[in-house]
């Protein structure tokens, strides 16, 4: 069932989410908002990675749940689409759950899920990007990234975030399908000038109300020769429910020759 679809790819995905952007200096007046977002989107992708991450899920009253994961990513041959595998290590009731996300820029992504109790890998319906991952405050769309061409972008101003000058980009869905699939009527992104890194983001629900706030901390250059960056701490808060999620990347290795065999049904089914 898709109800299980919330258990998806994370750490690596969150790396992509929080990953930073091209350092090539460009004069702000020379760029459109779409060009900035393209740079923001593309340079989040590392060649490959292995990581361990901790997810802290905190409700309004401060009660926490913790998830530990092991994940791998690998860029596909087209240099754009990622493969992302995430295996849950803790806690016990989710141990052995494995998700596999195969991005496909030309069509819907492939999402696969292995639940140890079912002893089967299932392909999940992936057109809907609004469902949350493993109960986190990141949606599926947040995790894989919102395709730039599906949104209209405008530069709404400039602001200082954490001491860095940022473009303030407002993005609205180009059509109803994108709005319904993501659950967002507007996204606002604070993109660091020159680095094209997302420092902060806000999402508005379909009613137009502020829905989520995200921040990306401890940004590091993780693949210097390709100018790929990642946030080592990501935070998302649902301002309506008061629930928040903190993702901490505990360990990360990049460009280590991750094997294709991680991204297979065979690997997922291995206990």
């Amino acid at each position: 069932m898709k109800i299980n679809a919330t258990t998806f790819a994370f750490n690596a995905t969150f790396l992509a989410l929080g990953a930073i952007f091209c350092l090539t200096p460009l004069a702000s007046f020379a760029q459109s908002a779409a060009e900035i977002m393209e740079k923001n989107f593309v340079i989040t992708k590392v060649t490959d990675s292995e990581s361990e991450s901790t997810f802290i899920l905190r409700n309004k009253s401060g009660k926490e749940r913790v998830r530990k994961t092991f994940g791998t990513t690998k860029l596909q041959k087209n240099g754009i689409d990622n493969m992302r595998m995430t295996r849950f290590i803790e806690p016990t009731d989710v141990r052995g759950v494995v998700s596999l996300l195969i991005e496909q820029s030309e069509k819907d992504d492939d999402i696969w899920l292995y639940l140890p109790s079912m002893k089967k890998v299932r392909r999940l319906v992936s057109s809907n990007k609004r469902d949350s991952f493993v109960g986190t405050d990141f949606s599926y769309g947040d995790v894989i990234g919102h395709k730039v061409q599906d949104w209209d972008h405008t530069i709404a101003g400039e602001e200082l975030i954490d001491g860095f000058e940022c473009y303030l980009i407002e993005s609205t869905p180009k059509n109803k399908t994108t709005a319904n699939n993501t659950g967002y009527s507007k996204r606002v992104s604070w993109i660091q000038k020159e680095a094209y890194v997302t420092r902060k983001a806000e999402m508005y629900n379909l009613s137009g109300a502020l829905y989520k706030q995200m921040s990306f901390k401890d940004l590091q250059l993780i693949e210097p020769d390709k100018n790929r960056w990642a946030a080592m701490e990501l935070r998302a808060t649902n301002v309506i429910s008061g629930h928040s999620t903190i993702v901490k990347v505990d360990k990360l290795k990049v460009n280590v020759g991750v094997k294709d065999s991680y991204f297979t049904k065979r690997y997922m089914e291995s206990e």
Partner: protein, 459 residues
């Protein structure tokens, strides 16, 4: 100890012996078979992270795996209440308790030891004594494009939702009082060998060394006494080609073995009662499944044709050959809400109505067998429906499933709600309700309808 049991245990020991011998050999020769010296093994990914993480981006040297995780042991303590058991005997208000343990230990790169079992008592405050079950215990070895799994294992096939015509290799215990239907699965001693082709395809061969049937709620029919007859020749074989990826996922499979569900045959009388033997006859099953996703819908078709021992359809006490098809669509509505609707079709070859048998005893037994095996009608149509929803960041989950027959009055509904109190505690409550005419599979289970609640502590 009966001969049958001795043979059974002897074969089980044989396969465990082989499995652990392989594990021992690999452990004792770990250095010789190290990853560095074995380019094939070097291609295999780690199942549990053992990376050095000595790069400049290492954020924490703290090892967050718990001691139990280091040993590869996890488990849960469970206590529950069931208003009825699943034994059709009108026993009510049962307190259940159990301890479940799982060992998932990576012995070395490419070699894993896995075991899963539980100790349980389904009437803790009553007269029932505790029992135990090893669901699975096997070693899994990977080498290049080959996978080898030896030992007691669950083999689950089929892409439809829960109703799987191609899933005929390992049994289920339908009498187990568990809120999770998938926990009914049990393993069987087997050797499974798979070869992968590229990223998406594989072929699997299975040799089932042992046979264990489904455990069904007994039909407590007055005047009938049931005895099991487990076949002595346990050997069974299966092969499957599976393609997972691209626009369509599909598989074709063949199984030659024993029917997990019993045929009923009269063997004599005991006083006024008829002695009915539950026989597990040979079947050959060819099956296939397909699944694809279009937009927000997932479509799946799974079908199998079963050739039984009674190929001519003349034996009233062996089920006839039959076709079983499940067609389903799953829709994702967003916001963690999804639903699945499936249509079920069965057609019996060379059908003969068992209710027209003249002899009263034979008619009673043949009709009961046909009813239990969905062969009372030449064609049977059914519908199943399942909807699931999660709230509060997945801490609260609801699942409602139901199924019914179209020609006869009969249905089952199963609502269930689960709440994760924290990472260690989970509470589940729900209902299993059956209703229908006495000539339906649902009507037979009327006495098993139950409300249940269970608390689990995970460690």
């Amino acid at each position: 100890m009966t001969r049958e049991l001795l043979v059974f245990k002897s074969k089980r020991l044989q396969i465990y012996g082989v499995a652990f011998l392989i594990a021992f050999l690999f452990l004792s020769n770990q250095k010789a078979l190290s990853q560095d010296n074995d380019p094939v093994m070097a291609d295999e990914p780690s199942l549990i992270p053992e990376m050095s993480f000595e790069g400049e981006h290492e954020k924490s040297s703290a090892n967050w795996y718990s001691p139990m995780n280091e040993l590869g042991i996890t488990g849960s303590l469970r206590g529950g209440y069931w208003s009825s058991n699943r034994l059709n005997n009108n026993e009510n208000d049962l307190i259940t308790s159990s301890t479940w343990l799982t060992l998932d230990k990576r012995l070395r790169q490419g070699l894993t030891l896995y075991a899963d079992g539980y100790i349980y008592n389904q009437d803790t405050l009553g007269s029932e004594s505790s029992d135990h079950r090893v669901k699975e215990i096997y070693v899994h070895f990977r080498s290049g494009e080959w996978d080898y799994r030896l030992g007691r294992q669950i083999i689950a096939w089929g892409r439809a939702d829960r109703l799987n015509p191609t899933d005929n290799l390992t049994p289920r215990d339908f009498t187990l009082l568990s809120p999770e239907i998938d926990e009914e699965r049990m393993g069987t001693e087997a050797v499974k060998i798979s070869k992968v082709f590229g990223m998406h395809s594989n072929i699997t061969g299975v040799w089932l060394v042992n046979f264990e049937p489904n455990q069904l709620p007994p039909a407590n029919t007055p005047g009938l006494q049931f005895v099991h007859n487990i076949p002595e020749d346990h050997h069974q074989y299966a092969i499957k080609f599976d393609q997972s990826g691209g626009n369509i996922d599909w598989s074709i499979s063949y199984f030659s073995g024993f029917d997990l569900n019993a045929d009923l045959a009269i063997t004599g009388t005991s006083g006024a009662d008829i002695l009915v033997q539950q026989q597990y006859n040979k079947v050959d099953i060819i099956g296939a499944d397909f699944a694809t996703i279009v937009g927000s819908n997932r479509y799946a078709i799974e079908a199998a044709h079963t050739e039984t021992k009674d190929q001519s359809g003349l034996d009233d006490f062996i089920k006839n050959s039959f076709m079983h098809v499940v067609v389903g669509v799953e829709r994702d509505f967003g916001n963690n809400l999804s639903a699945i609707v499936q249509g079920v079709y069965r057609r019996v070859d060379d059908y003969k109505d068992p209710r027209e048998i003249v002899n009263e005893s034979q008619r009673a037994v043949a009709s009961l067998g046909a009813l239990a095996n969905h062969q009372l009608d030449k064609e049977e149509y059914g519908i199943s429906f399942r909807v699931g929803k999660k709230w509060l960041n997945d801490t609260l989950e609801a699942d409602f499933s139901s199924s019914t027959l179209l020609q006869r009055h009969g249905y089952a509904v199963r609502p269930k709600v689960t709440y994760s109190i924290n990472d260690h505690l989970k509470a589940t409550t729900g209902l299993e309700y059956f209703d229908g005419a006495s000539d339906t599979i649902f009507g037979l289970q009327k006495n098993n309808k139950s409300a249940f609640a269970e608390l689990r502590y995970f460690f």
